[in-house]
């Protein structure tokens, strides 16, 4: 009931806010909008309906829980500039449709930034500063303030009392399942906000980077695109096309991480990448707890 009253209140506020604009679509020219505002003119192809005529190119390999159903997306191709979808693909709901846990995304992204951080800031303490062993002048009778060493922290040139001490490491590990859930939440968020695109293969007709940029602009994928593939070698045309582009980046599937996914607007996956990601991410839901690190051989775990 409380949620209902909040929703009613929210709608009322929006109506009042909209009525203060002069006319539909006439925004003042000096209005500075943030870059990531929801753009209604962005091409949003409606999700495929059940009675679509295009073939289903990929089914979910893993078992989908009974209370959920797989999600459907269009499968496109990079060979032509205009994006006519080739078919449909099913995505597992436990990987691409999890709850949007923003706090987990924040934690995982913060971990990614900080676990590698080693801060080399180092200051010398009064015992480490060169000199300062001798009492500067006698305790009494000189008329000056009493001091024991010329390198005490109150002196100019003296040591720092509570400064940064030596290389400090900010290493910490989040539990494995939290990191896995972070990946799942990032993929689900991209899927829900329509920034995830599925492509059958990464073959591009020309090694021309202009072709790729025109394709991205035509299909309105966004400013920056992250292209993910399972294989360690990408097609040569694509490598040459993206070599000079700063905002279009290639990454192998094992290197997929939350920071890269959030930094780039659009994420492009191939069908094999989806299979790889689903296998790896769903395994953690069903595995036993580790007795020893997983990199040592286990006979019964896959």
């Amino acid at each position: 009931m409380f949620r209902f009253t909040v929703a009613v209140f929210g709608r009322g506020v929006a109506k009042r806010f909209c009525s203060s604009f002069p006319a539909e679509g006439a925004l003042p020219p000096n209005l500075h909008l943030p870059a990531n505002l929801v753009d209604p003119s962005r091409l949003r192809r409606p999700p495929p309906l059940a009675d679509c005529s295009l073939p289903l190119l990929r089914r979910c390999d893993a078992a989908v829980p009974a209370h959920l159903s797989p999600m459907q997306t269009w499968v496109e191709s990079l060979l032509t500039e205009d994006g006519e979808p080739l078919g449909l693909a099913q995505l597992h709901p436990d990987v691409f449709g999890v709850n949007p846990r923003m706090d987990i995304l924040h934690d995982v992204e913060k971990w990614q930034r900080n676990y590698k951080r080693v801060s080399h800031a180092h200051t010398k303490v009064r015992s480490e500063v060169r000199g300062g062993g001798k009492k500067p002048w006698r305790q009494k009778g000189s008329g000056k303030a009493r001091h024991g060493s010329i390198r005490s922290p109150i002196w100019r040139g003296g040591g720092v009392s509570h400064g940064p001490r030596g290389p400090t490491s900010y290493y910490y590990m989040l539990p494995m399942k939290v990191r896995v859930q972070g990946l799942k939440v990032a993929l689900s968020a991209k899927m829900a906000q329509d920034y995830l695109h599925v492509v059958d293969s990464l073959n591009v007709p020309t090694p021309d980077s202009q072709y790729l940029q025109d394709l991205i602009r035509h299909r309105q994928w966004g400013e920056s695109v992250l292209i993910v593939d399972v294989a360690e070698e990408f097609p040569e045309n694509l490598l040459r096309a993206t070599a000079d582009l700063k905002k279009v980046n290639l990454i192998p599937a094992i290197g997929l991480n939350v920071h890269s996914m959030l930094k780039h607007e659009a994420v492009v996956l191939t069908l094999e990448t989806i299979k790889f990601l689903e296998d790896k991410l769903l395994w953690h839901d069903q595995r036993y707890s580790p007795l020893y690190p997983f990199r040592l051989p286990y006979r019964d775990l896959p």
Partner: protein, 278 residues
Amino acid sequence: MSFPKKPGGKGLDVLQTLPRISLANLRPEPGARHRERRRGRGQHGGNRSGRGHKGERQRGTRPRLGFEGGQTPFYLPLSLKRLQYLIDLGRVDPTQPIDLTQLVNARGVTIQPLKRDYGVQLVDEGADVFAAKINIEVQRASEGAIAAVERNGGVITTSFYDPISLDILIKPVPFFMRGQPIPKRMLPGEDMVPYYRSAENRGYLADPAKIQEARLALAQKYGYVLPDISVDELYRMLATRKDVRQIFFGLSPGWVVNLTERKILKPTDEKLLKYYSS
């Protein structure tokens, strides 16, 4: 639920109308980050800084948490109800001898040899629902548990593992990666020898003839017919027992196991052979 629920729920629907999630939009849950309590600041927080007056409390020299001051061994209880649960779910295979390694692989018990755990004791909770024919080896067993296992035609043995052998037994793969030869299992200390030599506890040091008599006596006491396991088709499996100095089934002390090349190296020197077979 008659119709399938939409994955992600209302959260993902709401996300469609919100701006793009980017590095600038992330923040933790409100209330997730607490300010840390700083000691020794201010008029009321200073002076003794919340540590009390003198003694170990103020000086920070109290012994570690849970310190009791002794080497009391712990035997983790494993109820028959839990064992039946593990067998039913297929995590433990009753057609093979059940060892502490099998129980730990099935994640049925968690043994910490560093915390003075010496193994597992079989407790007879769930003895009335227990119905599985197994060859099980534990460290201690209550009488009711022994009766329940033998009533179903199984074999139960109690054996001793010293802490090093226990650590190797529960985590064999990290031990094999070390490349050391399998050590001999040590014999129990003075106070535990009578326990493992008595037939009533089915100790591994006891006389097999006396164990047979004890089985009959227990059957009479608890009022069940002792099934004859020698005519059983799994008799060979049920009769496998470890040697007194052996840690793993099929591997003798002194052998080195190479997991990466899948090879076993055995000692050839006379002195080594004499030492490891003593």
